[in-house]
């Protein structure tokens, strides 16, 4: 090390900074461990997804016996009010296969699993579970909650000021975009990917059923025009062909009704509550 007189003050600054940072981290750790700092909810969709992965793989309390897996369609439905009876492992922006991976990785066997079957299954599965929780990180996060996404100061702050509450009233431009994005039929590549994803899902469902889990498939309603589009219709046919209503338990909403959405594909708060009640009723949880 350069130990000249001029640099000794710099070395002191480095050591002092590291020491203060350590004190800050320790104080934060103590505040969290003592339960003084509340758990945050994640200020973005990506963070909310990671918090779900962390909460499920690092359980601080007993896990509910009923789990819901899906995309933002179902996440949006179950986010309305907190409910301890049904654990919402739906990931916004993803397909639902990530939730399956999460259950497999945790080795837990829930009593009932609700799986959303929707056009989101056309998406390429992401590596969120593996990336959010590699083995080394699992150890780090279980011993030091300060590194968990749920305890990020920004997330906690946002929970405290409740600024994260989103308005989900209909946005006509968004609805028009939602409709337009589904005008074209699905491509061959998308069809192939959907079939691959459904094959993975089928294997996962079979495994769970063998272990005594009851599976319920749920269809989350969307805007009428989106629902009737060629894109959605084709996908629906493939989904119902793979998991026929005659052989599987389905939770089907009232298809004759015009459901209100905020952007063509995500239900407004009131409509989401209706679907949530229906799901809980079907699971005998209401």
């Amino acid at each position: 090390m350069n130990l000249s007189i001029s640099s000794s003050s710099n070395i002191r600054i480095i050591c002092g900074s590291l020491l203060i940072a350590l004190i800050m981290l320790l104080s934060f750790h103590i505040l969290i461990s003592a339960g003084i700092v509340p758990e945050g909810i994640g200020e973005t969709q990506q963070k909310r997804n990671i918090i779900k992965v962390e909460n499920y793989l690092l359980p601080m309390k007993p896990l509910p016996e009923n789990v819901a897996l899906g995309s933002s369609f179902l996440e949006n439905v179950l986010r309305v009010d907190v409910d301890n009876q049904l654990l919402n492992l739906s990931f916004g922006g993803l397909s639902g296969l990530e939730g399956c991976e999460l259950l497999q990785r945790s080795n837990s066997v829930p009593k009932k699993v609700v799986i959303e079957l929707s056009s989101a299954l056309i998406r390429k599965p992401s590596d969120i579970v593996r990336d959010a929780m590699p083995e080394y990180k699992q150890f780090l996060l279980s011993t030091s909650p300060i590194f968990r996404m749920a305890y990020q100061p920004s997330s906690i702050l946002l929970r405290l000021i409740r600024a994260a509450k989103e308005s989900r009233s209909p946005n006509q431009t968004a609805i028009a975009i939602g409709r337009k994005s589904r005008e074209l039929p699905i491509t061959e590549e998308q069809r192939q990917r959907l079939n691959n994803n459904l094959e993975h899902l089928k294997q996962f469902v079979d495994q769970l059923q063998k272990r005594g889990t009851s599976i319920y498939f749920v269809e989350v309603p969307v805007d009428r025009q989106v629902w009737e589009s060629q894109y959605e219709t084709e996908i629906r046919q493939i989904l119902h062909g793979r998991f026929p209503e005659t052989n599987c338990r389905w939770i089907i909403p009232d298809r004759s009704r015009d459901w209100k959405t905020s952007d063509g594909i995500h239900l407004t708060v009131d409509e989401a509550r209706t679907i949530k009640r229906q799901i809980l009723r079907c699971l005998n949880l209401s």
């Binding site: 600054i13 900074s17 590291l18 203060i20 200020e43 973005t44 590194f147 989103e166 308005s167 975009i177």
Partner: protein, 479 residues
């Protein structure tokens, strides 16, 4: 391997330990160790495309070697070698980066009977883009030209030239996202390094700031700013979109400056001084000043190897303006093989020309208030110009511009408000620079207080550790 990943930390610790082994004999091989480590680092990112980097190194080293030690008096040979070196690097760049753009543009303009076969277009489009190709090709050109100007020492053996060139090109702290090094600055630094020579404070300062900017600011902002892309921005109003554009402005600074600061810190730990790429660009009072503070290594490269050879500003005003415009368009295209980058460069070129004309015709008095006004104007321009950087489709650019000017009624989404919080550190960093550059008392007092500095660094470490955003690649990796 991202600088802010565990894999990189492990990799760097191994390299650092081997690099400073307490054996004089082994320390003689430090440059070779760095070359090997850099190849491993590059291989981890691009695999077999490392061969392209190797080919580029060998070719440039060979040209440089002949230029320095060969028949120096044969001016015809020298000229051929220089042209050959420049053409080789441009050819590599065009093949791997621009061939698809060139072919698809020709195809768009060509009449129906002369259209190229779709198989050819698809084939060219599938050519992979090696990481950091724009950086090492520009460095290759600078090596050729610098050696031709006799800026390098003449008594190098072929092996020495190859070894030094390899390290110059592949030195992993700067390999993927710069800064663009100059051979004349880097070659003299290649020698055995001692552990006691490390300036720990410099390394600590840049690494802390770099990691904080990338992990806390850029990665958190990236989770919001995707919303400013098509078609999402059409669902939001002016205030939300302006907020998100400001967020993008802060994000791209934090992302790229963060990488550059980490590169400076890592290089310092290995005993090398590499130039800083950023000097608080958002306190610039003119666009000209902005380009002296933003991506400094690129703008100085463009000035030395393009603007000046084109005639620079020592010619007629029209010609000088044209030179600026051409340089800025090419500088824009350097960022990516898409016309939107050319538009972004053209916007800056046009801005620089207007500024030049304006300043030479209307003298503006200097005052603090006017200075702040200029900063605001420059920032507004730079932020608006990022639209050209984000959108790859001209119609989407127009749509966003129209949307920004017409949809004033809608209030910002509550969920986008945290963007303000993440912009704050970037604003604070610039305010600190602004105060210290003007010798303001508060700035000086704070800078002199050791405890204040310790507290600031500790806070940066704390926030980077407990509040990082979701991982995102560095924006400049794609260039």
């Amino acid at each position: 391997m991202l600088f802010n990943s565990w894999e990189f930390l492990t990799f760097f610790l191994i390299v650092f330990t081997l690099y400073y082994l307490p054996s004089r004999t082994l320390r003689q091989f430090q440059p070779l160790l760095l070359v090997g480590a850099s190849m491993v680092f590059y291989w981890a990112g691009v695999g077999t495309l490392t061969l392209l980097l190797l080919a580029s190194i060998i070719t440039n080293a060979l040209i440089g070697f002949i230029l320095v030690t060969g028949n120096a008096d044969n001016s015809a040979l020298r000229k051929q070698l220089i042209i050959g070196g420049v053409v080789f690097n441009l050819l590599v760049l065009c093949t791997f980066k621009y061939s698809s753009l060139i072919l698809s543009s020709i195809n768009t303009l060509a009449p129906a009977y002369a259209k190229l076969s779709p198989t050819l277009i698809q084939g060219v489009a599938s050519i992979p883009l090696p990481l950091g190709i724009s950086f090492f090709c520009f460095e290759g050109i600078s090596l050729t030209i610098d050696t031709s100007k006799r800026l390098l020492e003449r008594r190098l053996s072929w092996i020495d030239t190859l070894c030094k060139s390899s390290l110059f090109f592949s030195f992993f702290p700067h390999l993927i996202s710069g800064p663009i090094l100059r051979a004349g600055h880097f070659f003299p630094q290649i020698r055995t390094k001692c552990f006691r020579e490390i300036d720990w404070y410099v390394a600590f300062k840049w690494l802390t700031l770099g990691y904080f900017l990338k992990s806390f600011v850029a990665n958190n902002l990236a989770d919001y700013t995707w919303f400013v892309k098509y078609p999402y921005f059409t669902t939001a109003g002016t205030i939300t979109n302006v907020l998100l554009l400001c967020g993008y402005s802060a994000q791209i600074f934090a992302d790229f400056a963060g990488y550059s600061f980490m590169a400076v810190g890592l290089a310092e730990l290995l005993g090398y001084k590499i130039p800083n790429n950023f000097n608080a660009p958002y306190i610039s009072r003119s666009l000209g000043e902005f380009w002296k503070r933003w991506h400094i290594s690129l703008s100085s490269w463009l000035k030395d190897y393009l603007f000046i050879p084109l005639g620079g500003s020592r010619c007629s005003r029209t010609r000088a303006c044209l030179n600026v415009f051409v340089v800025m368009i090419l500088g824009g295209l350097w960022h990516g093989a898409s016309w939107n980058y050319a538009i972004w460069g053209a916007m800056h070129g046009a801005g620089l020309i207007v500024e030049h004309i304006f300043r030479s015709t209307i003298p503006i008095p200097e005052s603090v208030l006017l200075g702040v006004g200029k900063i605001v104007v420059v920032n507004a321009f730079v932020t608006a110009a990022w639209i050209g950087f984000i959108m790859s489709d001209v119609n989407h650019m127009k749509l966003l511009a129209k949307h920004l000017c017409t949809d004033f009624a809608i209030m910002p989404y509550a969920k986008t408000l945290p963007v303000l919080g993440y912009i704050l550190p970037v604003a604070a960093l610039h305010a600190w620079h602004w105060a210290s550059e003007r010798g303001l008392t508060i700035g000086n007092l704070l800078l002199k207080s050791d405890f204040f500095r310790m507290f600031v660094y500790a806070t940066l470490i704390f926030l980077a550790a407990v509040n990082p955003g979701t991982p995102h690649e560095f924006i400049y990796f794609q260039f």
